[in-house]
């Protein structure tokens, strides 16, 4: 089987990285048997440099094998191998999809939650579950017919009744969890100030947006900035920890 250009490139980098790992191991104090046997017998020198080069080599060999099988996506070869009459061009999505950034939000919330607060774990799991559902339906609807408008109508008819409640619940959960971490971290007076400023900002932004013509892109950007601000504030607040609360005992004393 002839190797394609893409696979030659990948295999070249892969075997080059493996060779580089051997050289790196030897020049950083490893012995030959250790370097060849990945440390089974003897040292490999600098573990990090050696390890990264080994894994880059393996990763690029995986990519090389796949590009060989896929024949670099060459349309003529693909038609012969898959038995289809012609290979269609890649069609860009007709409408913007926000599921990728939302899934990134969910993953970040999950990671932060593992380190800082269980509340963020719940938020991350909910976000990823919603994204999985929405993205599946989006993928199905995008290929339901040859008309992008009809596809969007189909998607709306299928997920529309639950989409708004789902996304609203997610947004409310994100705001509540994120802002509550901030309010719990700052002082008692500070929390009142932060809440007032945040409320004024939201109110002012909504008033402003209602009076001017704003494109969908700008609106999306504002929502994205707000989401990042809530998440960042929540992370900082959770990392700082809650302030000391004075509990009232039965006698009414602090």
């Amino acid at each position: 089987m002839m190797l394609t250009w893409g696979s030659k490139f990948s295999f070249g980098i892969g075997f080059g990285a493996l060779f580089g790992a051997v050289v790196m191991g030897l020049v950083t104090g490893g012995d030959f048997v250790g370097v060849i046997s990945s440390g089974y017998k003897g040292g490999v020198g600098d573990h990090i440099a050696y390890g990264i080069l080994i894994f880059i080599g393996l990763a690029m060999i995986v990519v090389g094998v796949v590009t060989t099988i896929a024949r670099d996506g060459d349309p003529e070869e693909l038609t012969q191998r898959t038995g289809i009459s012609s290979v269609s061009a890649v069609t860009p999505p007709a409408f913007p999809s926000y599921w990728a950034p939302l899934s990134a939000f969910g993953v970040v919330a999950l990671i932060v939650g593992v380190a800082l607060s269980p509340a963020f774990i719940i938020l991350g799991v909910i976000a990823l579950a919603v994204v999985a559902l929405e993205w599946c339906i989006q993928a199905w609807a995008d290929h339901a017919s040859g008309d992008a408008e009809v596809n969007e109508v189909m998607r709306q008819r299928l997920i529309g009744p639950v989409e708004l409640p789902l996304l609203s619940t997610l947004a409310i959960a994100a705001v509540v969890i994120g802002s509550s971490r901030v309010l719990l971290a700052v002082s008692k007076t500070g929390s009142v100030v932060v809440a007032c400023v945040a409320a004024a900002l939201i109110f002012g932004t909504i008033i402003l947006l209602s009076r001017v013509e704003v494109s969908r892109r700008i609106m999306t950007g504002i929502v994205a900035i707000f989401a990042v601000a809530v998440l960042a504030g929540g992370i900082v607040g959770a990392a700082a920890g809650e302030r000391d609360f004075h509990h009232v005992d039965e006698a009414g004393e602090h």
């Binding site: 573990h47 990090i48 990763a59 796949v66 996506g73 693909l78 599946c136 199905w140 008819r157």
Partner: protein, 206 residues
């Protein structure tokens, strides 16, 4: 019963959807797999280097006193994941034969093996009793970071396989187009290969 159906929404005269370009998902998965291999490999290399520096400094054993890594669970986890490789290949092969029933059984079994692996990891961690807090040397956080990363990769592989199973159920894939399952199977193989790297570096060489 609702009187709204998809058939009413889509006029019969509509043009059929443009078929997907072949191999796109497989190539995308290969690139994602390469990123995962390098990322996880770097973390594992860092773990091995930290352990080597610790041992070279004569600071005592790598594992804190009272902590032991039994071999039974890691070996059973390895066997479980090898079984899952068979079921993943079974899923792809049955879809290539348009045998959907076997595809669903195989996908379900593969995900079940994934859950079994996660459960065994949790049991192993509870047996080891390695406290994550109070370890000034940072050994425990590093240990949990490597194992936790692999659990996250396994979770992603399970989600990928589950979504492709659902899409197969929805009719997106058939004997002529098994790309989604191919991609999920490839990522599953990478996940299992990374487990064996971790198995050797952490559980065997300790």
């Amino acid at each position: 019963m609702s009187d709204i159906s998809i058939r009413e929404i889509v006029p019969a005269a509509l043009a059929p959807a443009t078929p997907n370009r072949p191999r796109l998902l497989v190539i995308g998965t290969a690139l994602a797999s390469a990123a995962v291999i390098v990322g996880f490999g770097s973390l594992l290399s860092f773990y091995v280097r930290t352990r080597a520096l610790w041992l070279a400094s004569d600071s005592g054993t790598w594992l804190p006193s009272g902590v032991n890594i039994p071999l039974t669970q890691p070996n059973m986890m390895a066997i479980t994941l090898v079984f899952s490789l068979i079921t993943v290949v079974w899923a792809v092969a049955s879809m290539k034969s348009d045998d959907r029933s076997n595809t669903y059984i195989a996908v379900g079994l593969s995900i079940m093996f994934g859950f079994a692996y996660i459960a065994q990891t949790a049991y192993l961690l509870s047996l080891m009793g390695l406290p994550i807090a109070g370890d000034d040397a940072g050994r425990a956080p590093l240990f949990f970071a490597v194992i936790g990363s692999h659990l996250a990769i396994t979770g992603a592989a399970m989600a990928y396989l589950a979504i492709m199973g659902i899409r197969s159920l929805g009719g997106n894939y058939n004997a002529k187009d098994v790309e989604g399952l191919y991609g999920a199977a490839m990522f599953w193989f990478v996940t299992v290969a990374l487990y064996f790297a971790m198995w050797y570096a952490i559980y065997i060489t300790k």
